[in-house]
Amino acid sequence: MSWLPPSPRIDGGRLRLWEPPLLSGVASAEHSYVLIDEIVGSSVGLAVSPWPQVDDKGRVRFPAGRVMLGANANALSAFLHSHRLPREHRDRELRIGDAFAVRARDEILEPLREQLEDERRLHPFLDPAAWMRPPVYDITADAREAAKRSFYAAVAPVLETDEARTVLPLEE
């Protein structure tokens, strides 16, 4: 019998779909959350997660089941140029930390799931057009805003409304 604590079961309470402002009324469990996790030369590492949820404290939660897959940077840029929303972002350079909401073609990814979960696949790259259904929502700004919320809630207690009142006049 180990003296170490067992793995706890984390209960997030009632969970609802995360609905970032850009996807208001559009977000669905059929979306995947795709993040540019790494760029090495012409290789792009994409972290693909089931669509996040929000717990009863308003925290964005990611269920298990993240997989990594790869894309050629030029192929991904070309695909985004054609299908990225909002359109004014279509020519934005690829950057680590860019986040997208896409509907993945499960019929393409499912046969690869075991290999993807082994986290070994990056080559050969999948053509983005083969597994992403347009459009691709660029939710980078919303995702970074949510990441900042999660950070500040972690490093200092969340303010109750009464407490927040003292700093509201200072808000941007």
Partner: protein
Amino acid sequence: MAAPDPVPANALERGDFIADCAPEDLVYFLLNVGDGDSQLLLLPAESNGSRRALVVDVATVAKLPSLIEALAKTPLLPPRDDPFPLVVGTHPHEDHIGGMPEFLDRFGPLIREYWEPGYYHPSGSYFEVMRALEDHPHIQHSQPTSGFTRYLGMVRLTVLAPTISLRNRFDSYGVTINNASIALKVEFPAARVEQRGSDRRYLRIRRSQNLVLGADAQTLSWGEVMSDFPELRPSDSPVAKALRMAVGADPLRAQIFKVPHHASKHGVTLELVELIRPRLSLVSSAPGGGRYNFPHTVAQESVREALEALASGAAKHRPDHELGIHYTCTSDTVGAPLGSIAIIISPSGRKRLWRLGDRPDAPVDLSQARRFVEQELAEASDIETHEPAPA
């Protein structure tokens, strides 16, 4: 990418890893997690005989807990309330914090402090790490930059990177996530004070064992590190003398070097390795090159050349294991994986290198450990400590 050559099977022999660890030893683990980093430093036993452990990155959910569970069944990690004084998430890439949320959820009550660089990365693991820290508000959170130090018993930690200059550019997209990495220097033993009856004596440690844990810092970051921690040439100027006294002559020197970024071509330069001059250079990488075909030949050759300068391009370097370069992904000549790396470091400088024989997706089994015998690692330390001389 050049796959590391197999190590001769007769260079390793079975032994009792647990018995080889003396209470006063520092034990460093670089785990075989494929693409990614998971590291654990088992600190020397304290006066009550028990040890604490420092965690640097948790790439995968199962591997590091399997090592901790194995150690907890031995005298190396006996029960205590505060076994983890510090956990470091060097940067928020999946291959460094992919298993961190589960680690924090399970061991959070036993953790005192968490370091991360302050780089926002909207990944699932980042969100879940922050959620886990929120759920454990007793864990002190810090974002250290270069020069910050923390003493943990017989060990002194110094943050080499990121520099303040890089830190101030994180949110402008002017710094990539790898260059946000927290790179650490570990010095052992650190200076202590001895109680002698009703008096005390400062123990100046003349020579120390140093480890540089490079995380995924790349050339931009290392350039700033080399500026912040310069090699100080002999000079009689008062400033040079004062600096040498304060920080030593070659503050980046280390016997053990965890090669940055899985030996990508942007993670290491010839000049950096020449400054560090490691006896052991350790690479965490996946069999077959992993996702990004690491280690890169350019990085491998830089390390080799720094360790064994050749007069001409026609000459060949000795095999990597003879140069002290070891990869988590290597196998031996009969095809057995060498797996996770463990180094037992005595205060005197004596070092023993063990391989734990695990595959990336398998738990650690300490009974499978083999000791590396080909290279004599039992050498005296030759690195001056950074402690100033007494007045």
